[in-house]
C-alpha cells in the first residue's frame, strides 16, 4: 500500500517539502479573500458597528485551537497504538501553532469584549474553556521539553493529550455549569451578532485560511523535527543519508 510508506519520517520529509508551497499559497489566497470579505464587503453590524469584524479572526482562531488539539489527540492515539514515530513528531509540530491560536483567540476575544461589553475578561464559559485549553497546551509543551529521551517524551505527550482531550468536554460542561450558576443564564456574553450570509462566508473562508496555514507551518516544523531527531545518529542508521540524496546540504 503505497500510502503507508509515507509513515516513515525519511519518506515523509521530501513529500512534506513538496506540499508546503501549495498549502502556503492556499492559505494566502483564502486569507486575502476572507479579509476582503470581512473588512470591506460585510455590512456594519447594527448593534456593534464596525468592531464586530474582530469576529472574523476571533472565531476561526478559537476553532483552530480546538481542532488542532483534537488532531494532536488523534496523532497521539496513532503514536501509542502503531508506535509510529512520525505521528508523535506531527503532534510536536502542531502543538506550538495550536497554543498560538489559543492565545490569539483569548487576545482577540478580550479586545472584542472591551468595546462591546465593557470588560476585557467576562469569565464567559467559552472564553474560560479556551483559557484552560491554553493550560493544556502549555502542559504538553512543558512535558515534552522536560523529558530528554525523545521516545519517552513522544509517548508521554501522546498519553497526556489523549487524557486531556477526554477532559475537554467535561471541562467545557463544568465551566458552562459554573458560569450559569454564577451569572445566571440570561446574560450570554458572547452572543455573536445576527449573522448575515456574507459574514458567515467571510468567517468560513478565514477558518479555511487558518486551517491551511496551520498545515503549512506544521509541515515545515515537522521537517525541522525530523532533522533534529537525526542529529548524532550513528552513521549506519543515518537517515540523513537518504536525505542527503535530496541534497539536504544544499538546503532544499
Amino acid at each position: 500500500m503505497s500510502l503507508f510508506k509515507y509513515s516513515s519520517p525519511t519518506a515523509f520529509y521530501p513529500l512534506a517539502g513538496k506540499l508546503v508551497p501549495w498549502f502556503a499559497a492556499l492559505a494566502a489566497i483564502f486569507a486575502v479573500i476572507g479579509l476582503y470579505l470581512g473588512l470591506f464587503v460585510a455590512p456594519e453590524d447594527f448593534q456593534q458597528g464596525e468592531v464586530y469584524r474582530i469576529i472574523f479572526i476571533h472565531v476561526p482562531a478559537a476553532w483552530m485551537a480546538m481542532v488542532i488539539y483534537l488532531a494532536m489527540a488523534m496523532y497521539g492515539v496513532m503514536a501509542l497504538t502503531f508506535n509510529t514515530r512520525l505521528s508523535a513528531m506531527m503532534m510536536e509540530a502542531l502543538a506550538p501553532t495550536g497554543a498560538i491560536f489559543t492565545a490569539l483567540a483569548l487576545w482577540t476575544g478580550a479586545l472584542w469584549g472591551k468595546p462591546t461589553w465593557g470588560t476585557y475578561w467576562a469569565w464567559d464559559a467559552r472564553m474560560t474553556s479556551t483559557l484552560i485549553l491554553l493550560f493544556l497546551y502549555i502542559g504538553y509543551l512543558a512535558l515534552i521539553n522536560a523529558i530528554e529521551d525523545k521516545k519517552r517524551a513522544d509517548k508521554a505527550g501522546a498519553l497526556l493529550v489523549i487524557v486531556g482531550s477526554v477532559n475537554v468536554p467535561i471541562i467545557y460542561f463544568s465551566v458552562k455549569w459554573w458560569n450559569t450558576l454564577h451569572q445566571g443564564a440570561s446574560v450570554s456574553v458572547t452572543a455573536s451578532p445576527k449573522m448575515a450570509a456574507i459574514m458567515l462566508w467571510a468567517m468560513l473562508i478565514m477558518a479555511i485560511a487558518c486551517w491551511t496555514y496551520a498545515i503549512t507551518i506544521s509541515l515545515v516544523r515537522v521537517r525541522a523535527i525530523i532533522l533534529e531527531r537525526e542529529r548524532g545518529r550513528s552513521h549506519s542508521t543515518r537517515v540523513a543519508n537518504t536525505l542527503s540524496a535530496t541534497n539536504i546540504v544544499a538546503g532544499s
Partner: protein, 239 residues
Amino acid sequence: MTATLNSLTQIDSPVFQPERGFIVAMARDARLAARSKGEAIQALAFFVVVVSLFPLAIGPESALLKRIAPGVVWVAALLSVLLTLPRMFANDHADGTLEQLALSVYPLPTIVAGKIVAHWLMTGLPLAVLSPLLGLQFGLASGELAVLCVSLILGTPVLSMIGAIGAALTLGVRGGSILLALLVLPLYIPVLIFGAGAVEQAMVSIDFSANLSLLGAIVLLAGLAVPFAVAAALKISLD
C-alpha cells in the same frame, strides 16, 4: 530438610486472581505509610495552615469569610493532595521495586488501583474528614459543613486518580513536581467547580444534589479508566 520443601503449600496460579493485585498493592502501601507516618501528617498540617492563612489575610469579618469558605477549603485540599503526588511512585522507582510491581503476575492496572486507593486513604480522606473542623473558622453552619465534607469525600479520590497519571508521566523527570502541578491542575478544574459549587449552593440553600451526583459520576468514570491510563504511563516511564 527437603521434606519441608516439598510440603510447601500449593497455590493455584495467581493469574486466576488478578484482583488480588489490588489488595497486595494497597496493603503494601498502607504498611509503608504506617512506617513513615510523617508524610501523611505533613499533608494534613499543610492543609490546616493554608486554610488558616486566609482569615489572616482577608480579615475576620465573617460575612466575607463565609462566602469564600468553599473555594478556600477546596483549593487548599487540591494543593495538599498535589504535594503528596510525587511520592506515589517516586520511592518505589528509586529503590527498584516499581519494576518488580510492573513485572508482577498481577495486572499492572489492578496494582495501580491499589496504590491510588492507598494514597487516597492516606491523604484525601483525612482532609475530607478534617474539613468540617476548618469550616468552623469560616463560620459555616453545620449543614454546610456536612456538604463540604461529603463533597471532599467524593472529590478527593478523583484528585488521587488524575494525580496518579501526572505522577506516572513525570516519574524521574528533573523538576518533575512543578511540571506535575502544571499537568494536573487544569484537569482538576471540573472537580473543583462541582465540589466548591455544591457547598456554595448549600449556603444559599439551593438544591446541591446535582453537583454531588456529578462528582460521583466522575469518580466512577475515572475509577474505570484511570488505572489503565496510569499503567500505560508507568510502562512509558519505565521503558
